[in-house]
Amino acid sequence: MDVWFFLIQLLNGVQYGLLLFLVASGLTLIFGIMGIINLAHGAFYMLGAYLAWWLAGLTGSLVAAVVLSLPLAALVGYVIEALLVRTLYKRDHLDQVLLTYGLILIFNEAQRILWGNDVHGIAMPTAVNWSVRLTETLSYPVYRVILSGICAALAVVMYVVIAKTRFGMWVRAGASNRDMVAALGINVKLLFGVVFAVGAALAGLAGAISTPISSVAPGMGDTVLILCFVVVVIGGVGSVKGAFLGAMLIGLADTFGKVFVPDFASFTVYGVMAAVLLWKPRGLFA
């Protein structure tokens, strides 16, 4: 085994894990704080990707497309929370699953109507369309490094906001005892709306920045959604720290699984989940 080849797979795994973390962190916060199982979370990933593809076509710039798709995804998230999800807080998980599953169908249909069923892609911008040469035959695309950098920077920002700011304290307190947060005079409805919108924006951003390396296609949100639920379950519901570790584990398990045991590639992720849950049934940080 070539050490450089191993290193490249390691980088790919970390990069995929970081991308998953962007999506899963919102899912775990929404699940942990609001008690909402949001099956439509993957749809925000898809929305971000389609918005980026569409806006890149309009503006001719990937950067502009990503920057514009971020507030749009947040806005869609906020509106969906205010109009629909808000009615679910006092209902049981079955109602939540029904409504958010319905949202997936609506999102998918809207995507078909607006943008059609074709598979799209965004050409890698020339400025970042080069690779870091590692050996004679192996090199690593610089865009993936940038992608990892963006995700890692956002992970740090999220850590600081959640661990150090009053907003972060409210979010954590909400995950622990939301009635008490309201009883301290904190506007929980607004807090939930903001968290939902931020979660949607992060998922949308993940979709948007991954467009140059993966195709923009119908159903792309569903695969991510399932992996993100695995991440959330591994990390412990409501824990952003857990989501980070879980996303790293799944990113690496998925990447190395495809390389080393291709016949079992679709199993490795669930194998990791089963192992973690046997050890810690409530997840790593529950």
Binding site: R166, M169, W170, G185, N187
Partner: protein, 233 residues
């Protein structure tokens, strides 16, 4: 300060509050008394919008807050220390206090982080501990300290000293007296009738969701049959 009129609250089909009138004047300390299950906590929750009363009105400082969100009612100048203390398992003592900090409705910030720690020196020793890792007495101190950080005009204490050791109880009562001296109004629910008779300006006794006594401590002290009948001393 707070004025509730004709509150009727139901839990499903069971009628818990039967048209309760309840008021607290500015700076007044009111003891809310009665046996278990007579509606004390339900009355508090109905006034705060935690439980929705079926009919009746609640006003705070002249403003109608009936049907408002709990957080909006609380922001009218009320702090609530619930039964069970409402700790956050993932926040430290320091974070419990900082997350709640807010100026009062009149803009005053009399209660600061430093002042709360001066009032409860034991909390100052445990700033980095998680709220749920504290002893019962420390949790109650933290819950009261957190409430004070919102600079309230009315402090509501449900089961102020329940389940605490006698020495800790004495500390808590000492602090409650000190808070009273600062002019903050309060509603106190507690089993300790003796302390309440001595501490509160007015006493309200509930029996089966109705007010059966509303008056000062003198009558209760001179006519012990009232307490015997309604509270069972």
């Amino acid at each position: 300060m707070l004025h509730a009129t004709a509150l009727h609250t139901y839990y499903g089909a069971s009628h818990v509050l039967h048209g309760i009138d309840f008021r607290v004047a500015k700076g007044e300390t009111v003891a809310l008394m009665g046996r278990n299950g007579m509606g004390k906590s339900t009355l508090l929750k109905s006034m705060l919008g935690i439980v929705a009363p079926r009919s009746g009105k609640v006003a705070i400082l002249g403003r109608d807050v009936t049907g408002m969100e709990t957080s909006a009612v609380i922001r009218q100048g009320i702090a609530y220390v619930p039964e069970g203390r409402g700790m956050f398992h993932n926040l430290t003592v320091r974070e419990h206090l900082l997350m709640a900090a807010r100026a009062g409705t009149d803009g005053r910030r009399d209660w600061t982080y430093e002042r709360v720690l001066e009032t409860f020196p034991r909390l100052a020793e445990r700033l980095d501990n998680l709220g749920t890792h504290l002893s019962g007495g420390e949790q109650q101190m933290l819950s009261i300290g957190r409430a004070l950080m919102t600079n309230p005009q009315l402090l509501i204490l449900d089961e102020a000293t329940e389940g605490l050791a006698p020495l800790i109880r004495r500390d808590i009562w000492h602090v409650i007296r000190a808070i009273k001296q600062t002019g903050i109004a309060s509603i106190i629910v507690d089993k300790n009738v003796g302390v309440l008779l001595d501490l509160a300006d007015r006493h309200v006794i509930l029996v089966k969701g109705e007010v059966v006594y509303d008056g000062g401590p003198e009558t209760l002290k001179s006519d012990s049959s009232i307490l015997e009948r309604h509270i069972g001393l």
